[in-house]
Amino acid sequence: GATLDAVKKKGFVQCGVSIGLPGFSNADEKGNWSGLDVDVCRAVAAALFADANMVKYTPLTAKERFTALQSGEIDMLSRNTTWTLTRDSSLGLNFAGVNYYDGQGFMVTKKLGVKSALELDGASFCIQAGTTTELNLADYFRSNNMKYTPVTFDTSDETVKAFDAGRCDALTSDQSQLYALRIKLGNPDGATVLPEVISKEPLGPVTAQGDDEWYKIVRWSLFAMVNAEEMGITSGNVDAKMSSDDPNVRRLLGQEGIKGSGLGLADGWAANIIKQVGNYGESFERNVGQGSSLKIARGQNALWNKGGLQYAPPIR
């Protein structure tokens, strides 16, 4: 397809990411990007070019992201984007999978003394513009017959700042973000996340419609990471596993079976992903889990066989 050809010609993947959401995508002082969403981009680059660094990042606000993808300004979008019917069908997008199962929650200051979202009738909410959050909030309050005031900002940064300044009673966003954003508060301990989760937010990488080959590469890059975790292959042991006898492992690492030809990739594509980016579990722990300052538990994002929802189709 055209996108794939263009990417190959350019020699790098132009990946749309969030302007700065700790754990998912944020740049350090040198401008190097890291995060769970960033790792998906890196995985695609590793699969395609055998080099995870062949990625260029375009930081986007929530408002800009779909337009950027539709216009071809970016090749893929990996920016905590919720998979919904409208987006999948009428915006000309293809969701390639889910790299984080999330749900919308609320953060309030402890002083407010609120224990449940149902007590928030009449409150005002800081939200980020152009998200499903905006819609979910409206639905939730409508169905519970409550009133609310939305205060909408362009970037998550402004949202937090306004919340911190007392502009609104609560901040609402995906749960994962709430934790990330809480660190940015002047006094993180003064705020608490309410238990309610009011929506399903499957977040995943997105490509534009019209290039199936490219779409499949993105989708299987993500699957390769999940499969690798399931099979216990890590960036540390991938070389050793090359000589494994397990046919599943051998197929994943391109030792036998269809190898890379189905996707039009080199045979060692998945091995490259695992070697350079790591498996899904590694990426998770490193960016948002115990290895990070966010310390999010696996929860729904554990593998299917460990009580979670992460499930990848088999490589065969």
Partner: protein, 366 residues
Amino acid sequence: MSVHTPHPDLPPPANIVGVIGWSRSNLFSTPLNTALSLFALYLIYLIVPPMINWIFLDATWVGDTREACASGTGACWVFVKVRINQFMYGFFPEAEYWRINLAFGLLVVLAIPLFIKRFKHKGRLAAFILIFYPIITFQLFSGGNFGLTHVETSKWGGLSLTLILAGVGIVASLPLGIVLALGRRSKMPIVKSVCVVFIEFWRGVPLITVLFMSSVMLPLFLPEGTNFDKLLRAMIGIALFQSAYMAEVIRGGLAAIPKGQYEAAEALGLSFWKSMGLIILPQALKLVIPGIVNTFIALFKDTTLVLIIGLFDLLAIIQQAFADPDWLGYSIEGYVFAASIFWIFCFSMSRYSMSLEKKLNTGHAR
């Protein structure tokens, strides 16, 4: 016949000169004036001392970490100090800072002769600065040739990006502005209306919608697969936007050239383009230098809008630094710093343009 001896000059009475005379006539000439003066003095008393305390006297200047500021009640300039390189150079690799310094140093060196009265080749030097200097600067920033490592545009940022954007905006909009201005004065109805529509369109829409279009929508309008650098696209957007304003400035200059100049050129047998290039434009452009400087100031301030499309100009990079968990809560310092940088640039340029205007208005004997 009497010989007249002039009356000696007497010193003025004490109450009209010196401090007393001055304040009597400048501060307390009428009851209303007295009330206003006292009110103004009170206002100054309210605002200025606390400001000076916060900015200078109580501020923290030394240290490298947040802890250094813990005790101070004034501004924490340590925050700015720690980040100053990033504010100036963005994400440019530290080892390559010299390239940016060289580029701007070169500009200063090149520009100095323009201010020397006796220097003869001002026109040629200005042309060099307008045409070749941008190429040199681009090479220095971008690298990739002459053994310089390539630095992607996404790593450009900070004050240097602000200057680049404004500089490119003004230089690129100049030729287009000239063409549009000539077109708008053209006798050909279609050419004229095309130019009018173009100019009024760009002057009528907000810059942020233009930037949004150029940064995320442009590929939609181009044939499949064409794509180019985001910064470049922002620059194109800015240049188009700016060219409309530039055209109006230049039109003013063209209108100020007396009709006789056109006729004399025509009578000598010069063709349209020759008489424009040799006679009219050199005079018109010189007349509108103050106007161009003012446009530049406006553009310089407007470049802050690129933060909305995710480019890290000075303001954006300072805002981005607010998110650093180590330095939360020092946004006022950041804003004050940004404001003073912008202010210094804009104010000195506006003074320069005012002095130029005065010079052009008076002795126009050259």
